[in-house]
């Protein structure tokens, strides 16, 4: 299996990449590779293949946050991309599937209240791209390039683009509910096999009442497990 991750800027240090590799080593029991597209390779362990993030930026834009992930589909027929701020903590060897494009459905949020209620405002987003598998998703590459001008104008993030265009039209598959959990939305626990710690939506959506912990800010137990992957 080919795994991919992206790291740019200074929000996350190399330890995030190194521990992500370590978690795959512990939890994925088949041959695999991890490629990191980055603008700063210092400190990343040698088992990780490094490539320049500029290879994933055909468009000069500061919108459609993390659209770079979609460009991976052009370069590789299949694979799984992983965000740096996830923690894989149980065996995921049998998780991959044959679907064209599999995302995370935010099942920890109430769809009616959180997404459908404000659908027309353009603020809804019930999908998450922190752990995504693709297999020959040419349809998505073509749609994205054919409609790029509209997409760039309309969407501030990849997840919103995927939700409003591709979920709306029934083009996406989702991981079963027993695969992914959300630390900040589900009682600060490590549930299921993979746990998300993303907090970027809090700032992006001005959710001042929502508390969010990054992986390095989580409980001692979680941090201890995370650090164990660095060995």
């Amino acid at each position: 299996m080919k795994f991919f991750t992206l790291k740019w800027g200074d929000k996350y240090g190399p330890e995030y990449v190194n521990r992500l590799y370590g978690s795959l080593f512990q939890c994925y029991k088949k041959p695999f590779s991890l490629t990191c597209y980055t603008d700063q390779a210092d400190g990343i362990r040698e088992e990780v293949e490094l490539k320049p993030i500029s290879d994933l930026r055909p468009y000069n834009t500061d919108r459609v946050f993390t659209y770079e992930k979609l460009i991976l589909l052009e370069k590789y027929e299949s694979g799984i991309w992983l965000d740096l701020d996830i923690l894989i903590h149980q065996d995921i060897t049998d998780v991959p599937n044959e679907n064209s494009f599999t995302m995370i459905w935010n099942h920890w949020n109430n769809y009616e209240q959180r997404s459908l209620k404000w659908y027309g405002k353009g603020t809804s987003c019930h999908v998450n791209s922190s752990f995504v598998q693709w297999n020959n998703a040419e349809w998505l590459i073509k749609f994205t390039h054919d409609n790029w001008e509209k997409i760039e104008w309309t969407y501030k993030s990849l997840d919103k683009y995927m939700f409003y265009q591709h979920h709306r039209c029934g083009r996406l598959e989702y991981w079963p509910e027993d695969i992914v959990s959300n630390y900040n939305r589900e009682n600060l626990k490590l549930d299921r096999k993979i746990t998300l710690f993303n907090t970027s939506h809090i700032k992006a959506n001005n959710l001042t009442n929502e508390i969010g912990y990054e992986l390095h800010e989580s409980s001692d137990e979680v941090i201890s497990l995370w650090k164990s992957y660095e060995l």
């Binding site: 459908l116 404000w118 659908y119 027309g120 405002k121 353009g122 603020t123 104008w153 709306r168 992006a204």
Partner: protein
């Protein structure tokens, strides 16, 4: 529930009743307006991609920017220009947008001239704006233009 402000309602009624057919875009719930116009003999319909409009009378539940839609009415009214890319048509339009800078907006509308430029209007019949107070300190302005694309 109807989501139109009194100013919007006045503007829309004032323009739409001069046409034989009207399509409303990104308009949310305006069933009473559509019912009124149709009862007056005006063919009026709406396109809004919110799933709550599936199977709703007078509504087509589609994204008029990304999906295939027919914008073939005598007047096209866009209620929320700040929330979408520019649609294409060849005829009369009433464009409305605001500078609320809501989280879901694509591009804030700051003037009627901006609408004229964005939509490359060939002729402008009338334009205007109205304001409302959002908080004690901040106001929101709505800008509109009636013209031809």
């Amino acid at each position: 529930m109807n989501y139109m402000s009194p100013q919007m309602r006045s503007l829309v009624y004032g323009k739409a009743t001069n046409y034989d057919s009207v399509i409303f875009l990104a308009c949310n719930e305006i069933s009473d307006l559509l019912e009124d116009l149709n009862s007056m003999g005006i063919i009026a319909s709406a396109i809004d991609y919110d799933p709550k409009f599936e199977d709703k009378k007078y509504y087509e539940c589609k994204d008029f920017i990304f999906d295939e839609v027919k914008l073939d009415a005598d007047l096209i009214v866009h209620f929320n220009c700040e929330k979408t890319f520019m649609f294409e048509t060849d005829g009369d339009v009433l464009l409305v947008g605001d500078n609320k800078k809501h989280n879901g907006d694509c591009k804030s509308i700051e003037s009627s001239e901006q609408l004229i430029e964005q939509y490359k209007l060939k002729e402008v019949y009338e334009k205007g704006d109205w304001s409302e107070r959002a908080t004690f300190l901040n106001g929101i302005s709505h800008f509109w233009v009636h013209g031809r694309m």
